[in-house]
């Protein structure tokens, strides 16, 4: 069975949804503003004759209709990084600040880690963790290529992440860009649809709950945790939020994203979820001609104290 069919009841226009899922996505690059401005990248593309299109909702994204995002000078200089459009959304929702302590729990291959470091102006500490050592080498390569100097890379199971190797006890912000069923990436990798199974959905949902719970525990009171996936499955999205809302001291908060989205769902397959999951965003391929995505922002409970950025001096 094609898993995309099971999501047709959730979307406004099932035919448009399925048609969009069948269209390939263009190559997209994100500008690494630690190294160059979007204007300088545009100028370099023009000099070199690289075709590009602006993305209207983000200055630092360019679509490359001819593909080959790594075959040009801006890439070689570490000015750009190949990254799907919707993949920048969790970094925007997280909104990390220079000087903060930030955890990227499932970081490889590092697109979001490097975006976070860029937003932090390469100041503060981003801890990039992944349980897969092989994929961590891709993250290391990307971080070095983009000139990131404020990242610590760890190789732990995020569900039991230990703060012991770190110089601090809690994070200001955490991103859980969770391993998932990935049907949202079907425009890039159609195989995900063939490999999909309901058993995998249920297995990975357990992992997602464990990682998100740990992220809430490891983040200071008043801090921010962002949860994102590239699946449409409510079992891996709203159900995970619902579970963690009940188990940990946190709330789902409203936030804006710069493209067309629809609210999270409160009912699926006989289950109902906490009303606040409607504050999460579902991104469908036919609404913005992108991949599919899910993104939620949580505030960790308790009184907000000083942050690393506005409080104590950060020792180098």
């Amino acid at each position: 069975m094609n898993p995309l069919a099971r999501y047709e009841p959730l979307v406004d226009d099932a035919a448009a949804f399925r048609a969009a899922c069948d269209r390939p996505l263009p190559s997209v690059v994100r500008v690494n503003e630690l190294a160059a401005s979007p204007g300088r990248v545009r100028e370099a593309f023009a000099e070199e004759g690289v075709a590009y299109e602006a993305v209207d909702w983000h200055d630092g994204l360019f679509r490359l209709p001819d593909g080959n995002p790594g075959g040009n000078w801006p890439y070689v200089h570490g000015w750009t990084h190949g990254q799907e459009e919707v993949s920048v959304l969790p970094g925007l929702a997280l909104d990390p600040q220079p000087g903060e302590r930030v955890w990227d729990a499932c970081a490889a291959p590092g697109s979001k880690t490097t975006q976070i470091a860029d937003a932090m102006g390469d100041e503060g500490t981003v801890v990039a963790n992944d349980n897969n050592l092989g994929r961590l080498s891709a993250l290391r390569h990307n971080a070095e290529r983009l000139g990131i100097t404020n990242a610590i890379v760890t190789n732990q199971d995020a569900r039991n992440f230990s703060m012991k190797p770190l110089a601090f006890d809690e994070f200001d912000r955490a991103l859980v860009d969770a391993p998932c069923s990935c049907e949202g990436t079907c425009r890039k990798n159609p195989d995900v649809v063939d490999q999909w199974t309901l058993d995998h959905v249920h297995a990975v949902a357990g992992i997602q709950k464990g990682i998100l719970a740990r992220a809430v525990q490891a983040t200071r009171p008043g801090g921010t945790v962002v949860y994102s996936t590239c699946t449409f499955a409510p079992e891996e999205n709203e159900a995970v939020l619902d579970h963690v809302l009940a188990a940990e001291d946190c709330e789902v908060v409203a936030f804006d994203l710069p493209l067309d989205t629809v609210p999270g769902v409160t009912e699926w397959d006989g289950e109902t979820y906490d009303e606040s999951v409607t504050r999460a965003h579902r991104v469908y391929p036919h609404h913005n001609d992108t991949g599919g995505f899910f993104c939620a922002k949580l505030r960790v409970g308790g009184e907000a104290g000083e942050t690393a950025a506005d409080g104590e001096e950060v020792s180098a």
């Binding site: 190294a35 160059a36 300088r40 990248v41 100028e43 370099a44 000099e47 070199e48 004759g49 790594g70 075959g71 040009n72 000078w73 890439y75 070689v76 200089h77 570490g78 302590r101 390469d122 100041e123 503060g124 500490t125 981003v126 050592l133 961590l136 290391r140 390569h141 971080a143 070095e144 290529r145 000139g147 990131i148 100097t149 404020n150 990242a151 610590i152 890379v153 760890t154 190789n155 190797p165 770190l166 110089a167 601090f168 690393a308 950060v314 020792s315 180098a316």
Partner: protein, 178 residues
């Protein structure tokens, strides 16, 4: 449990912060922060103030990393910042990534390549450049792009030849942009 402060050999499995000066050195052969800063100042004219906020760490034999965050010392993690400099050898070698990240601060031993030379350099090719009248050894190679010079990486200049030492995985066939 071993006490890190009394361990005087270089442990290749963890990151240790470089001592401040040679006089503070406890691990034989380990470069000090002052020597690292002096080296960049002497070799490339990069002012020590550029690196004031950064810390330096060694893991493995002579590989020095540069880091701009908070970390414990010693640290058992996979990576801390980015690789910066290869020490514990007669001629210290900056990494290509250090050259692209910090090379715009360099004032000496910078070789400006023309468009064709820049393409050959990025592809990993060695090339004859007898016109270079500066020092032999490691140079930062740059080219003109989008209104300014930008560093491409590190080259080794010997006997009228510029050898590209761009890592294999980072080599690229790029157009000559006149």
């Amino acid at each position: 449990m071993s006490d890190a402060s009394t361990d005087e050999s270089n442990d290749g499995q963890r990151f240790d912060r470089l001592p401040e000066t040679p006089a503070d050195r406890e691990v034989e052969g380990r470069a000090s922060r002052r020597e690292v800063l002096d080296w960049w100042a002497e070799r490339f004219g990069i002012e020590p103030s550029v690196f004031e906020e950064y810390s330096f760490w060694e893991k493995g034999a002579g590989k020095v990393w540069i880091f701009n965050g908070e970390a414990t010392d010693p640290s058992a993690v996979e990576a801390i910042g980015m690789t910066f400099l290869r020490t514990r050898q007669e001629h210290w070698k900056p990494t290509s990534r250090a050259a692209t990240r910090f090379g715009h601060h360099a004032t000496t031993n910078v070789i400006e390549l023309d468009p064709e030379q820049a393409s050959r350099f990025a592809a990993g090719d060695d090339q004859d450049l007898p016109e270079w009248e500066g020092d032999w050894g490691y140079l930062i190679a740059t080219h003109e792009i989008a209104g300014g010079q930008a560093p491409i990486g590190v080259g080794l200049y010997l006997y009228d030849e510029l050898r590209s030492v761009v890592p294999k995985g980072s080599r690229a066939d790029l157009p000559v942009v006149e």
